[in-house]
């Protein structure tokens, strides 16, 4: 494990995951400060190019988080996202960005604890992987 | 003519590398040779067939920052490296650099191009084999044409015949252990020639010929022909943000791209594939000679060899000359 402090970019959907992150904050649950959050209307808004661009800019990890399948505010946005992001992960792996550097998680507005745990796990794993080349 | 043996070549290259950087053809993979900065003289390949990219990027890089500006550091112009030796440049590519001199060194000269040109010694290399796409003899040069190089090498058994053409070239050769040449200059390979003299006049009457539409049917409107061309020199300039400031980037561009001639209003005077393709040939064989008195082509044949759909400039020239492109 290195003392490298990974930089993580998080795309969080407005309706579930962003509220979940907010809940983690208001509940004073501690999680690593390595994540920078961008609020998006829906995980379906996350163009895979945004993730590619984040890696180009040197982020060590990217998190996309949305409502649990079935709970999407727009009914289906996260189902589409799920397919797109699955193929993106395969592509990233193939060009040499370890699959563990890209996570897709479903976090509801009530899951502040879960959000904090996901970020903590993610940052720990990124520390194990070390800095990106 | 002097002679440099294969044995002494390595020593010579090492001493050149002590003076400046050495750029020479190097194998990078199966069937891929590129002009590269040399770290080990053993990597130099002077038997190379061709490189997809001519060495024009040594003077006119595919991308470069012209300057940077920021509140903290003010205005900065990136440095240009010191002396360089461009070894193994073929006569066609050396002509390409002379052709690029016309636009870039005409007043007001492009300072970055000029500095790079001044710092570089061109060490030419004769061709002992012609490729099927070669037609350099159409443009007043040939396989052993040394006129656009500072020094020139001709491969012979056991080494190279060497000749200095300019002071810079003499200085570069002075670093070599030369012997008096006992081998006669070999016979250069035959390179077919197209009598291009009349092209400019004839082409002017064919501007509205349907020939261009038909030729453009298979054109992809990619920029490959321009990027592999030793005399294509168009570029685009834009500013991009960097940390705490911005930089002005100049990158290769080409008239084959639909975005190239689009104006601020959104109007594009060359909207069709055919008009863009026609522009390529008119620029080389009509506008460029009108401006500078020389054809904008060196006969290297790279566009012939690399065009994915085989738009062959030689066929176009012959079609113009034979009147096949006449307006119906």
């Amino acid at each position: 494990m290195s003392d490298h402090e990974p930089r993580v970019l998080g795309f969080l959907c407005n309706w579930c995951s962003y509220a979940g992150a907010d809940l983690a904050g208001t509940s004073r649950i501690q999680y690593p400060p390595n994540i920078r959050i961008i609020r998006v209307p829906c995980s379906g808004r996350v163009d895979p190019l945004l993730v590619i661009k984040a890696f180009e800019r040197g982020f060590d990890g990217v998190l996309v988080s949305g409502c649990h399948p079935g709970d999407c505010h727009y009914t289906q946005g996260n189902y589409y996202a799920r397919r797109r992001l699955a193929i993106l992960r395969d592509l990233l792996e193939f060009i040499g960005i370890e699959g563990d550097r890209f996570r897709v998680e479903w976090v509801s507005a009530a899951e502040g604890q879960r959000f904090a745990r996901i970020v903590a796990d993610f940052v720990m794993r990124l520390k194990e992987l070390g800095p990106r080349r | 003519m002097k002679f440099i043996s294969d044995k002494n070549l390595r020593k010579w290259l090492e001493s050149l590398m002590g003076i400046g950087s050495l750029i020479a053809p190097m194998d990078l993979g199966p069937g891929l040779t590129l002009f590269s900065q040399i770290r080990d003289p053993g990597d130099v390949n002077l038997e190379y067939e061709t490189t997809p990219i001519p060495p024009k990027d040594l003077f006119f890089p595919s991308s470069e920052a012209l300057f940077r500006f920021s509140p903290s550091r003010g205005y900065e112009i990136p440095e240009i490296d010191g002396e360089a030796f461009l070894l193994g440049i073929r006569p066609c590519d050396a002509l390409g650099i002379r052709l690029m001199d016309f636009p870039f060194l005409s007043e007001p000269a492009d300072p970055r191009y000029e500095r790079r040109r001044r710092r570089t010694t061109l060490i030419g290399l004769g061709c002992i084999k012609a490729r099927p796409e070669c037609f350099c003899t159409s443009f007043g040069i040939g396989p052993f044409d040394a006129s656009n190089a500072d020094a020139f090498l001709i491969p012979v058994k056991g080494g190279f015949l060497a000749e200095a053409r300019t002071e810079k070239g003499a200085k570069a050769l002075a670093a070599a252990e030369l012997e008096e040449a006992s081998i006669p200059i070999p016979k250069p390979p035959e390179v077919p020639s197209i009598d291009v003299g009349a092209v400019r006049e004839v082409a002017l009457s064919l501007f509205n010929s349907p020939y261009w539409e038909r030729l453009a049917d298979r054109c992809l409107s990619c920029k490959l022909c321009a990027y592999v061309c030793p005399s294509c020199y168009c570029f685009d300039i834009r500013d991009y943000p960097i940390r705490d400031g911005a930089e002005r980037i100049r990158s290769w561009d080409s008239c084959q791209s639909p975005l190239f001639s689009r104006q601020a209003s959104g109007y594009d005077p060359r909207q069709t594939k055919a008009s863009r393709l026609r522009n390529r040939f008119y620029h080389k064989f009509s506008y460029f000679p009108g401006e500078f008195g020389a054809f904008g082509c060196t006969g290297c044949g790279r566009c012939v060899r690399y065009c994915p759909v085989n738009i062959d400039v030689r066929e176009v020239l012959l079609a113009i000359l034979r009147g096949e492109a006449k307006v119906a």
Partner: protein, 280 residues
């Protein structure tokens, strides 16, 4: 060859099509290049052999609004279907002449070869998936071919770090001439993301990391849409093994979604549909 010419003459003479898109001999006298025949006279120049590697479906969107005939190999025929599926080509406007294919040679201009292109070694189709008229004798059964693609497997076996270095060194060489994009039947966007100014995905700069974004983005946009015609890789003057990216993703789209590009023009596109219960 004679059969193709005869069919072209018939279609052009009857006025059924304005143009027949096929192949003619290239200027090296050895390989082939795309050819647009407008008359029975032109049709005499048509050829077909194992040097006819181009995927002519690329030209169909250019010809919209006119009735044309096109010669397709099995791989190319899948691209025709992709274009129909995506609303870029009107099936009624295109007369598809399919040709039974045993693979094409790895030849390039001036450099003949009798070696099959790598993709033809594992291609399992000899007969086009869409045609109005078929030329050649279909085999009794489609051939058995290996399920895996050696070049993709070799890369998968390497470590992530090695793959990163591999692709970075290739993309560093990219000159962004856009030949890979312009030759691709699936790349018909009026404005490519790489030409966009806002958001600025790549900008005009040629070099890493912009080339990296371009090449990764290109591969991504072809997932589930690439028919593996190999055009991008053949066109690349810098020898970048682009098709390996497309093949990797085509394989995953098949594994994950059971979808292969261009087999059925009416099938929903895998990224425009979903299954609620799927686990990805």
């Amino acid at each position: 060859m004679e059969e193709i010419r005869a069919k072209a003459i018939e279609l052009l003479r009857s006025g059924e099509v304005k143009c027949f898109i096929g192949y003619e001999r290239a200027s090296d006298g050895l390989t082939a290049r795309p050819f647009f025949a407008y008359s029975a006279d032109d049709a005499g120049r048509l050829i077909f052999d194992r040097t006819c590697a181009h995927n002519l479906a690329r030209y169909l969107p250019d010809m919209r609004g006119q009735r044309v005939a096109i010669l397709v190999k099995p791989c190319d025929s899948r691209s025709v279907n992709v274009l129909i599926q995506e609303g870029q080509v009107n099936r009624e406007e295109v007369y598809v002449v399919g040709v039974v294919c045993d693979g094409v040679y790895k030849a390039s201009w001036g450099q003949p070869s009798q070696e099959l292109e790598a993709r033809c070694l594992y291609c399992s189709r000899r007969v086009p998936v869409v045609y109005d008229h078929l030329i050649g004798q279909p085999p009794a059964s489609e051939p058995q071919t290996p399920a895996s693609i050696p070049e993709v497997e070799a890369l998968e076996r390497r470590s992530a770090k090695e793959r990163w270095e591999f692709w970075r060194s290739h993309f560093a060489r990219c000159i962004r001439c856009n030949a890979c994009r312009q030759i691709c039947p699936a790349c018909y966007c009026p404005q490519c993301f790489s030409d966009q100014l806002d958001p600025l995905w790549t900008g005009i700069r040629i070099g890493l990391p912009q080339n990296w974004v371009w090449n990764v983005g290109r591969a991504l946009h072809l997932a589930g849409r690439c028919a593996d015609c190999g055009g991008c890789e053949r066109a690349c003057p810098m020898g970048i093994p682009l098709a390996a990216l497309n093949r990797k993703l085509a394989g995953r789209v098949k594994e994950l979604f059971g979808f292969e590009a261009g087999l059925d023009p009416r099938a929903p596109f895998p990224f425009a549909t979903f299954k609620k219960e799927e686990v990805l």
